[in-house]
C-alpha cells in the first residue's frame, strides 16, 4: 500500500477516524494493558477496522523515512498546487487572460480615439 487513493478505500469515515486515533495513541508508547485489550478487541471486531488500521499504519510508518525532504516542508514555495490541478487549470486560465487583454486593448483604443478626436 502506498500513498494513493486506495488507502482505506470504501471504508466509512468514522472507522478511519477511530483507526487514526488508535495509531496516535499507540505511537505515544505508554499504553496500559487494559487499553491494549480494548484495542485488540476493536481490531478484531470488524474486517474494516483492521483494514483501516493496517493501511494507515503502513502510511504512517512510511513517513518516518522522510528526513531528507525536510527542507521541502513548511517553506512557502512548496505549498502551492499539485501538478494535476495546475495542469487541469492551464487552458481555462490562459483563455481568460487573453480575454482580459482583449478588453484592456479595446478600452485603450477607445481612450486613444477620444484623445485624438479632441485634438
Amino acid at each position: 500500500m502506498s500513498f494513493d487513493e486506495w488507502v482505506c478505500f470504501g471504508i466509512p469515515e468514522e472507522i478511519i477516524q477511530q483507526a487514526s486515533s488508535w495509531i496516535a495513541e499507540l505511537d505515544a508508547g505508554n499504553i496500559s494493558a487494559s487499553r491494549q485489550a480494548v484495542f485488540l478487541h476493536w481490531l478484531d471486531e470488524n474486517p474494516q477496522n483492521r483494514w483501516a488500521f493496517e493501511e494507515l499504519s503502513e502510511a504512517w510508518a512510511k513517513t518516518s523515512v522522510l528526513t531528507d525532504i525536510e527542507t521541502q516542508i513548511e517553506t512557502p514555495q512548496v505549498v502551492p498546487f499539485s501538478r494535476q490541478s495546475v495542469l487541469s487549470n492551464t487552458n481555462p486560465t490562459s483563455i481568460q487572460t487573453n480575454k482580459d487583454w482583449l478588453h484592456f486593448g479595446a478600452i485603450a483604443l477607445i481612450i486613444i480615439g477620444l484623445i485624438f478626436a479632441n485634438i
Binding site: 487513493e5 508508547g29 474486517p47 494507515l56 512548496v78 499539485s82 487541469s88
Partner: protein
C-alpha cells in the same frame, strides 16, 4: 498415514465460521455481489496453502488482509485501462521498469510532501516534530505547552487529512485520464 481430518482443515473451518459473515458485509462496499463469493473462496484457499508451508499466527487477520488485497487488486485492474493512457502520455520516453519505479517513487514522495504541506499549521508542526525530528509526545507537549492528549489528537487529525489528500489526488488523476480518453 494421512487421516481424513488434518489439523489445518479443522482450523480452516473454524476460521470460515468466524470470518465469512462479517467479511461478506465488509466486501459488499467494495465489489459487486457476484465477486464477493469468489474473493472469499480465494482468500480461504490462500490461507490453506500458506498454512501448509508456515504457521500463521493469526488466521483471521490473514483472511481479512487477503480478502482486502484481492478486492483492491480487482478495483485497481478495472482502472488500469484508464490509467495506462494517462501514464503513457505522461511518460512516453519511459521504457525500462527501473526508471518507471524511480519516477513512481518520486511522485509518491511529492504527493506526501504536498499532503503534509496542506495540514493546518499546528497540526503540521506536531507532525514534523514527531515524524521528522523524532520528539516524544511528552517533549512535544512541553515545547508547545499543550497536553499529550492534544498531541495525540493533532497526530490523528494529520493521518486522516493526509489520507483525504491521497484520495483527492487519485480522483484528479482519474479525471485527467478520462478527459484524455474522451478527447
Amino acid at each position: 498415514m494421512k487421516s481424513s481430518t488434518k489439523p489445518e482443515d479443522i482450523c480452516l473451518s473454524a476460521v470460515i465460521e468466524k470470518t465469512s459473515k462479517p467479511l461478506k458485509k465488509a466486501l459488499a462496499s467494495l465489489v459487486p455481489e457476484a465477486e464477493i463469493e469468489e474473493i472469499l473462496q480465494d482468500s480461504y484457499l490462500q490461507l490453506h496453502l500458506t498454512a501448509r508451508r508456515e504457521s500463521i499466527a493469526n488466521p483471521v487477520a490473514f483472511v481479512h488482509r487477503t480478502a482486502r488485497n484481492l478486492a483492491i487488486n480487482r478495483l485497481r485492474q478495472k482502472k488500469t485501462s484508464e490509467r495506462f493512457v494517462e501514464s503513457h502520455f505522461a511518460n512516453p520516453e519511459v521504457n525500462d521498469q527501473s526508471e518507471f519505479k524511480r519516477l513512481s517513487l518520486i511522485r509518491e514522495q511529492q504527493v506526501l510532501i504536498d499532503a503534509i504541506n496542506q495540514l493546518p499549521p499546528i497540526c503540521r508542526q506536531v507532525f514534523v516534530m514527531r515524524k521528522l525530528h523524532g520528539y516524544s509526545h511528552k517533549d512535544i507537549s512541553q515545547r508547545l505547552s499543550i497536553s499529550t492528549k492534544t498531541v495525540e489528537n493533532h497526530l490523528a487529525k494529520a493521518i486522516v487529512k493526509c489520507r483525504d489528500y491521497f484520495v483527492k489526488q487519485g480522483a484528479d488523476i482519474g479525471l485527467i485520464s478520462s478527459a484524455i480518453e474522451a478527447a
